[in-house]
């Protein structure tokens, strides 16, 4: 019998989160290494295309370079075509499971939180993904930025009910 927590688990996990494991299948833990492999490629791209560069982010916000707009723009176009094809052709996962999408509901957090994140993005020159690539590239002090980002998330979780959404 499912406990109450298990029944509501998807709702809690998806609370203010874009990426949620939508799969119902349970696999041995080492299956997760395939996602680590994809992460490795992502990390290499981050460095080789200088996406994790603090300078590139400043250039983006000063409109001095097209580079970051090109990267994000191309990624969205390729991603959108892929999602369209997956939906249209009803492509399944490698495990034969249906690929599902959940529509996002608008809330004011996307504006307030978005602005706050934007301020932080321009200071640190990194969004959460690049922070980990920066650490890997040998900038060990970035561990402080990551720890601080974790505390920011924790404070949000603590005061979530009091914040306008």
């Amino acid at each position: 019998m499912k406990t109450k927590q298990e029944e509501t688990d998807f709702e809690v996990r998806s609370l203010d989160t874009m990426c949620v494991n939508e799969s119902e299948l349970v696999h041995p833990w080492w299956y997760n290494f395939k996602y680590a492999a994809v992460g490795v490629i992502f990390g290499i791209v981050f460095i080789k295309a200088e996406i994790i560069s603090w300078f590139r982010i400043q250039e983006m916000f000063k409109l001095q370079s097209f580079h970051m707009y090109g990267v994000i723009g191309t990624a969205v176009v390729v991603g959108a075509i892929s999602v369209f094809l997956i939906k249209k052709l009803k492509i399944k996962t490698v495990h034969g499971e249906e690929i599902t999408f959940t529509n996002k509901k608008f809330n004011k957090g996307q504006i307030y939180g978005g602005l706050i994140f934007g301020l932080g993005w321009a200071i640190t020159g990194a969004c959460p993904g690049p922070l980990f690539a920066q650490l890997g590239s040998g900038s060990l002090a970035v561990i402080v930025v990551i720890a601080s980002a974790m505390s920011g998330t924790w404070i949000y979780g603590k005061f979530r009910e009091q914040l306008p959404h």
Binding site: D9, R13, T17, M18, C19, N21, Y31, A36, A37, V38, G39, V40, F42, G43, I44, V45, F46, I47, K48, I51, I52, S53, W54, F55, F61, G70, T74, A75, V78, I86, T93, V94, E97, I99, N103, F106, I111, G113, G114, L115, F117, L119, G120, A122, I123, G129, F132, A133, G136, S139, L140, A141, V144, V145, I146, M150, G152, T153, W154, L163
Partner: protein, 187 residues
């Protein structure tokens, strides 16, 4: 081949590969591309403290932690084996602006004159590393995603709330770089 790989990669190559990560994760196991949720999973794993927001089965999302683990390893591999011998090219206007604030070392991707353990003991370094990190962690979760989850995954799935979030990210960034950051850098 190796020579091509060690050069900085152009935006259309990087953008295409990042775009392809979206269907790769979906096809590998119905996983939706995103990064910032990892900060939440780490809180849920280490300090849940009876906060409902952190009491969920984070192990079910452990794929996401493997994914950022991979990013970290990718950062190491690319710095060790694929790094370009040439210095990073910076827009001359940016270099000029930064020189005014004493930032003259443009050799790395992360400026050591701003982000290093020594800098933690300066007001400027403290604000940028601790303050900046806090805003990233607080803001992404409040917005429900970061550049990956909203700007790339959300827009790829034509979710309009993600467009709102992405526009907000950009406005915040423009405000900081052009209006506020000069005051912080001057500290």
């Amino acid at each position: 081949m190796i020579e091509t790989l060690t050069q900085p990669w152009p935006w259309y190559v990087a953008g295409a590969i990042i775009g392809l990560i979206v269907p790769t994760l979906l096809i590998l196991g119905n996983k939706h591309f995103g990064i910032s949720a990892n900060l939440r999973h780490m809180c849920a794993a280490c300090f849940p403290s009876n906060i409902p927001f952190f009491n969920y089965d984070w192990k079910k999302e452990s794929w996401n932690l493997f994914f950022i683990g991979g990013i970290l390893v990718g950062g190491i591999i690319s710095t060790q084996y694929l790094s370009s011998p040439d210095p990073v090219i910076i827009h001359p206007d940016l270099a000029k602006d930064l020189t005014q604030f004493g930032i003259t070392d443009f050799s790395g991707l992360v400026p050591v004159q701003l982000f290093s353990f020594d800098q933690l003991f300066t007001l400027r370094g403290l604000i940028m590393m601790v303050g900046g990190g806090f805003l990233v962690g607080f803001g992404t979760r409040y917005a429900g995603g970061c550049t990956s989850g909203h700007a790339i995954m959300g827009l790829s799935d034509l979710q309009w709330p993600s467009l709102v979030a992405t526009i907000s990210f950009m406005i915040g960034g423009f405000l900081m770089t052009n209006l506020i950051l000069p005051y912080i850098l001057a500290l």
